[in-house]
Amino acid sequence: MAATDYTPEHQLFRETVRKFVEEELRPRAREFDEMGRIDKSLFKKMGELGMLGLRYDPKYGGAGLDWSYSAVMFEELGRSDNAGVTMGISVQTDMATPSLAQFGDEELKQKYLVPAIAGEMVAAIAVTEPDAGSDVAGIKTRAVRDGDDWVINGSKTYITNAATADWLCLLVVTDPDAGYGGYSQIVLPTDLPGIRYELLDKIGNLGSDTGLFYFDNVRVPVANTIGDIGRGFQQQMMQFQDERLVACVSSMAGSEHLWQETRRWAEERRLFGKPLSKMQNTQFKMVELWTLINAAKELTRACVEKRVAGEDATELITMAKLFCGRVSRQVADECIQFHGGYGYMKESMAGRAFVDSRLISIGGGSDETMMHYLAKQLGF
């Protein structure tokens, strides 16, 4: 822990987030599972604490800090005992808002970024469609210009924060003949006529509301376009970098937490006259997992440091996303084994981690998408 506590301020911020997690999130973790979402009023509280705009311009209510603070926050949020809730928060801070903050014009930022940072509005990122996920360029949702409006038709699926969101950062096709220059990002308020959603029933990450959106002739001002028309694809690729790095930080915090809880379990669980932790098999496996977790954390830290230094970290983040996804799955799988039958119960942390961690290798770009990119980078 505390890999990124560079200054006393980092430490104090960690204390604040930890307290928030211990008092507001962890005690209600199973309640959020039952609700299938986080209590929306907590966004307001996080906004007041400054948690929702760490890297954004103070002009919009942000703190103007760097990625090291984001790392501190997600190292702590990763211990909330509810991966779904952590994901919902990270969608707000690092998946749905970075493009708006970086490319949006003043008016759009005042209208949608300021309330998102204050926690008064919740945002979602809408890229994936029923027929296009990994192949982002294959999306079909179409925005056709009609005067000063876009008219939008299509659908988006697996959208996190579906029920809670006040607006979507929506990726659409604006010119089907323009190749990679034919996509745009639009801020789409969810209360517009013609928008409908249904919630999806997931196997894990139960504390987040994942949904399928339908858009039927939805009219939204062209002024809601984030950045230039036709730059949506490129902007979204940049936005993915934050999403992936957050997944690395929070998944490793979760794995570390699970490892610690499993160790406690192994020390207390007795069989054949001694604690489970005294068996060499347990010790070797636990040490192996600890090594993997630390390797993944160090790789993640290297990504964070590159981001703090303002360097391009795409390649390293891609490797980290691939590695952390696999490590978190392995940790969960082996930790279930130490718990025996109890590990298979829904109430066990290991059991939940087993299904929750499975997402890391799929969401935000699958392992294969990461490898596809890396293979290209390495000249295959």
């Binding site: 006393p8 301020e9 430490q11 104090l12 911020f13 204390e15 604040t16 307290k19 928030f20 007041e48 604490l49 400054g50 948690m51 760490l54 703190a63 800090l65 603070y69």
Partner: protein, 258 residues
């Protein structure tokens, strides 16, 4: 209004405590510390006065270097400045020694209210507050659960045995030793944390406040701390859940706890 809040840093409630080699205190290295819980409520009470109008909130603590972290937290929560007093001779200070140091700090300025926690989570003496009030020659109330400031006085509710409350009207300046749970303690917001960087944190030696090691020499020393041996006094109940519950209620009544 000028308010002094006395804070103590104590071992974190989740810390795994072990008794030190000389058997008179716990091992302090390697464990985490935090602000004494009672003091959090005292600080929050002071910060609410600040929010309500004109008040300067000064926090003071005594302890080795590690306590600056707690002072920074207090500044991050909204206190205006911090005073940190330390001298190696204070390592074994007793309640009176601590009260003397705090009194010397308080006498350097004219505080209208001194807030402290009812007791500390680690040593539980509950003596520093009343002693400090005596040394400053001001009235005090302990176990404070409600405050109402008006026209140079404060109406205070104090918790008595069995849930009874005592109400008193206390003129300022005064000292209030606060019970936990009396308010909802705020978090240090990121903005507060960043502003705290620029707030003054004065480090003072005993000589800076007109004291020396002899003046604070402890009159009380701890002979030994230990974990009570297992097995004594335990009363194992057996039977079905219902039977155990009935026996338990009987026992509670027998002990006069109900």
């Amino acid at each position: 209004m000028k308010i002094l809040v006395c804070l103590k840093q104590v071992p974190h409630k989740d810390a795994r405590l072990e008794i030190g080699s000389d058997g008179t205190w716990i091992k302090e290295d390697g464990i985490k510390f935090e602000i004494n819980d009672y003091d959090n409520y005292a600080l929050e009470e002071a910060l609410r006065l600040k929010d309500a109008g004109e008040a300067e909130v000064v926090v003071a603590t005594i302890g080795p270097d590690r306590v600056t972290q707690s002072l920074r937290t207090a500044l991050g929560m909204g206190a205006d400045r911090a005073i940190h007093v330390w001298d190696d001779s204070l390592a074994n200070a007793d309640s009176l020694g601590i009260a003397k140091v705090l009194a010397a700090v308080a006498k350097e300025e004219n505080f209208d209210v001194v807030f402290c926690g009812l007791m500390s989570d680690d040593s539980n003496y509950a003596m520093v507050g009343p002693m400090l009030a005596q040394l400053l020659d001001i009235p005090h109330v302990t176990a404070v659960v409600k405050t109402d400031f008006e026209n140079g006085a404060v109406k205070v509710e104090k918790e008595l045995e069995g849930g009874t409350l005592e109400v008193s009207q206390v003129p300022l300046p005064c000292l209030l030793a606060v019970q936990t749970g009396i308010n909802e303690v705020r978090y240090a917001s990121l903005k507060g944390i960043m502003q705290a960087k620029k707030k003054p944190l004065d480090k003072k030696a005993l000589s800076d406040i007109g004291l020396d090691g002899a003046a604070v020499a402890p009159k009380l020393s701890i002979e030994k701390i230990y974990t009570p041996p297992k097995g004594e006094g335990a009363n194992l109940l057996s039977g079905s859940a219902d039977e155990i519950a009935t026996q338990m209620v009987g026992k509670i009544k027998e002990l006069g706890l109900l």
